[in-house]
Amino acid sequence: MINLYEVEETNKMVEQENLDVRTITMGISLLDCVDADLSRCMEKIYDKITTAARNLVKTGDEIAREFGVPIINKRISVTPIALIGSAACKTAEDFAKIAGVLDRAARQVGVNFIGGYSAVVSKGMTAADELLIRSIPMALAGTERVCSSVNVGSTRCGIDMDAVKLMGEIIRETAQRTAAQDSLGCAKLVVFCNAPDDNPFMAGAFHGVTEGDLVINVGVSGPGVVKTAIEKVRGKNFEALCETIKKTAFKVTRVGQLVAKEASERLGVPFGIVDLSLAPTPAVGDSVAEILCEIGLEKVGAPGTTAALALLNDQVKKGGVMASSYVGGLSGAFIPVSEDQGMIDAVNAGALTLEKLEAMTCVCSVGLDMIAIPGDTSAASISGILADEMAIGMVNQKTTAVRLIPVIGKGVGETVEFGGLLGYAPIMPVNPYGCEAFVNRGGRIPAPIHSFKN
């Protein structure tokens, strides 16, 4: 029988250590909405989303109430729109109209984000893929809740450098189009290598073509819980540290598993995966950087940071994997800058640079995330950063992603405020030397030798 101490431990995690379920994300396949007629296609998309997800928010709120665990976000991911609109859209404007429909559907069902305004172009772009990509600035400037992502590389296919070059320009254009809101559009745009089909976290969520018609994926979070737990093993050896992280990750993930199963049952939608990520928020005590400091760093970015993050990421996976019947998505430690107070402090102190963050992405779950850079950074430099990060993902057979915000009109030393869960960020310097000749070569980088496993 459950005892008082166990009940207290769980409730303390929720009340004092920011334990929550970060998101219940319903994946919706829109493949059956494909139509050569654009209005018909848009109508089908709106109807499918508003029917499938009509009870999502209500159900999420009820589950949160019954278990006493907050469920912060209820969201939707859809099949990459480049596929869905390929028959109907003849121009970038046509694609942007679909973004408008997604936004309206998201409002109607009450979700705060809808992901999947996406294209998967690891090896090459179709005409429709390219039109969708070119429509991204327009789509993100004209909508509130739509999130976009483009997968430009994979371990199996290599990196499509034409798409990388184009995305450098698109990120800049998105920043310019949303300059009045401190280039907020770029916070809703992710460039991936090896993007998972079942990621529940925004802005990179989309419902991959390997998925079924509908699915429920859940993302948990609990940096504060891990931080509090490892305070008790301060000064102890790595074995004690790793065991503590594993046990804590297990407990956190079990909450996600329970919520996912319950949501799946009530909504009558199959359970997909639990994503056992440590996702920070700007709230004090909800920071991955604070965990790294508790492990023994004075500031994130100090020597030892990459090793500390590597062990954290691995123990989170090991602890979480046994707690859920299906683990997927990104699963690991996120290291966004603007969404993590400890990371912001490290940047302000001069401890953390873009180059160190790049090294950290080799061992964390995703990549360069929510990093504000000067507004005058060239498209080629952005493409160069993208290419570096994609190469790390391709060679290491892991998911990597980039979410950079070139803040138009602002430079190093200034701060940008995005608000809410997106937080605020000091603008970080970018290496001033150019890479135009590299980016302009065109074509693609071949898949690495270790991709040939047939």
């Binding site: 029988m1 459950i2 005892n3 008082l4 166990e6 009940v7 207290e8 431990e9 769980t10 409730n11 009820e62 109430r65 019954e66 278990f67 006493g68 665990v69 407990k251 079990r254 909450v255 598993q257 329970l258």
Partner: protein, 90 residues
Amino acid sequence: MKKAIITVVGHDTVGIIARVCTYLAENQINILDISQTIVQGYFNMMMIVDRSACEKHFADVATELEELGRQIGVIIKCQREEIFAQMHRI
């Protein structure tokens, strides 16, 4: 059996258990176990209850108990047992 855990935390005062138990009785919620401690005047109670006979929606029961807590001046939480069982039992 559908179990739930009710926790009550706050300054000790006359009638906390009586008020909570009255509410539970009125709603056909059966008490299976009670454990309670008082540390430096702080009242800390946990009840394991069976809610199978209760006709109300569980989320409403949780809200009403929370409201009752506000009236008494204590914090009352009512949660489904699975959240604790999942976290602390393999």
